[in-house]
């Protein structure tokens, strides 16, 4: 009997767990360790944040799903990895700390033969003074944060209904944030909601981000064919902001969030501030901060995890300038270079470098997006890694499956207003996710597969995907027919 231990039950970890369990024989174990008792379809948090969905509609309890599928679930958070065993234990193990009511804080060793780290991001609000829902700004990163943002929005709308003018500032809360797409969705859902509630004329909507230009999305922007032209995403994004009357501040690193006033530094070195009555700023992401120890108990965290706390995998981490970045720098198997039974998928793996060009202000402040790892690639890499591990556990000598973001396309639907009859969303496909300027010298990506358009159809798809992915994550009949 062998045991696969998966840390994290988000999009990546849960996908890996369900696929591994369905492929593995009964004599093997799949164990999931995750601190939350509920699974969250994070993309729909945007709709919780404007009050059109509740946290209950975007989450469900994990335990019954794992019970049904035969996955062993521990409601706990991983604290440290011991890949060589230690303290009298010969097998590798992970030290976990329970988060279950009544058992909170109790530590336990969970041994493993294979380990997948799918712990996603730490929401690093502390990186910016005053940032976050416990301080002076709102967030939509978790269903709970989003519900809080919805309450804040209701208050702002009430003030507008009383005739007050309000400034709503939405975007990224640090110079190295990623996930601009999520903030973009929230911005346009708020804009749509203000129109629906009849107060749009009382609102000044302002976008602030660390992107060099609108439409970067941490992907270095993209080129698409439209109306007889090959056009950069900047043009379409600026068009949408203009059409909806949204002002924008780009090339900005938010430095401090006071109640009602946000201070930021720009790429050209200016120190600016803007007053805001409603502020939703995403935090930067880092790894969750797992430590690693060898058999003797000496700390080896630095050789397993990057300084960002994301885990090293089979990427090329050599420091090199933007011009020398290659698609082959990106990982294919997501295996730790130091331990061949440890993998990291989804947001938990350390990317070799950003996708957007790194930029620094005169004082050295980094102001550029770090690379996004969205739902679809996170799910695909988790599935492929799970299949590779299953082969090893069952003693099959198969060809190793790969899932490089440089050879993978992604589809993404960014909501711009939630209504079945009047809503819109931007539907985007990109191939490959990591641009390849050797293969596609002008655009970095295949123009035949890279597309973007806005319309009601996108909203219908986004709405259907909400139900499809909740259904799939519950492992209901034929769930495998729904792609990652």
């Amino acid at each position: 009997m062998a045991r696969l231990l998966i840390l994290g039950a988000g999009i990546a970890g849960h996908t890996a767990a369900l696929h591994a369990r369905r492929k593995l024989g009964e004599d093997h174990e799949v164990v999931v360790v995750s601190p939350n008792s509920r699974w969250n379809w994070i993309p729909s948090n945007i709709w919780v944040g404007v009050g059109v969905m509740t946290p209950e509609q975007v989450t469900f309890p994990l335990a019954p799903v794992y019970e049904k599928t035969g996955v062993i679930f521990r409601q706990a958070k991983a604290v440290s990895l011991h890949p060589e065993g230690g303290e009298g234990v010969a097998r590798p193990y992970v030290m976990v700390e329970s988060t279950e009511p009544g058992k909170a804080g109790v530590r336990e060793r969970v041994e493993y033969d294979y380990l997948i780290n799918a712990t996603g991001p730490r929401l690093h609000f502390d990186a910016t003074d005053g940032l976050g829902p416990e301080k002076n700004s709102l967030s939509v990163c978790t269903a709970g944060h989003a519900a809080q943002a919805a309450a804040g929005l209701d208050e702002a709308v009430a003030r507008m209904q009383r005739g007050e003018r309000q400034t709503l500032l939405i975007g990224t809360g640090h110079g190295t944030c990623t996930c601009q797409g999520a903030a973009f969705e929230y911005l346009f859902n708020v804009e749509f909601e203000l129109r629906r509630r009849g107060v749009r004329d009382k609102a000044r909507l302002v976008w602030i981000s660390n992107e060099h230009e609108l439409g970067d999305f941490g992907m270095g922007g993209m080129f698409i064919r439209r109306g007889g032209y090959i056009t950069h995403s900047r043009v379409f994004t600026e068009s949408l902001y203009t059409e909806r009357g949204v002002e924008w501040i780009t090339q900005a690193a938010v430095k401090k969030v006071d109640r009602g006033e946000i201070h930021y530094e720009t790429l050209d070195g200016r120190q600016e501030s803007i007053a805001s009555d409603f502020t939703m700023l995403l935090p930067p992401f880092s790894g969750v901060g797992l430590k690693a120890f060898d058999r003797e108990g000496s700390e080896i965290t630095e050789s397993v995890f990057a300084p960002s706390n994301f885990m090293y995998v089979d990427a090329d981490y050599t420091k090199k300038p933007y011009e020398e970045w290659r698609p082959t720098d990106w990982p294919e198997t997501y295996r730790s270079p130091r331990y061949d039974n440890i993998y990291a998928v989804g947001i938990a793996f350390a990317p070799p470098h950003p996708i957007s060009r790194p930029m620094f202000s005169p004082s050295g402040t980094p102001i550029y997006p770090t690379p996004p790892r969205t739902g679809m690639p996170s799910g695909v890499m988790a599935r492929e890694v799970a299949f590779n591990i299953v082969d090893k556990m069952e003693g099959r000598e198969g060809k190793t499956r790969t899932a490089s973001m440089a050879k993978m396309g992604a589809a993404c639907i960014a909501s711009a207003g939630a209504s079945l009859m009047r809503g819109t969303a931007v539907s985007m496909t990109v191939y490959p996710i990591i641009p390849d300027f050797q293969k596609y010298p002008d655009t970095g990506r295949d123009i035949h597969y890279t597309s973007g358009e806005i319309g009601l159809a996108g909203h219908w798809i986004k709405h259907l995907l909400h139900f499809a992915f909740m259904y799939k994550a519950k492992a209901r009949p034929l769930w495998t027919a729904i792609p990652e």
Binding site: E238, E247, G409, E453, L456, A457, I461, P483
Partner: protein, 49 residues
């Protein structure tokens, strides 16, 4: 609100949609066709892996 009639402002340069383009974005018949097209495009992405 920014419009193309105000040159030299930040928002002067981007293209803005015509009323026809805007209407098509929420026209159910047209959007049903786009729904099919976008689904095909997305499935092509899925099949690539």
């Amino acid at each position: 609100m920014s419009t193309v009639r105000k040159p030299f402002e930040q928002s002067y340069y981007p293209p803005v949609p015509t009323p026809m383009t805007k209407a098509l974005r929420t026209n159910w018949v047209w959007q049903f066709l786009r729904f099919l097209v976008i689904n095909v495009r997305m499935l092509r992405m899925v099949r690539m892996h």
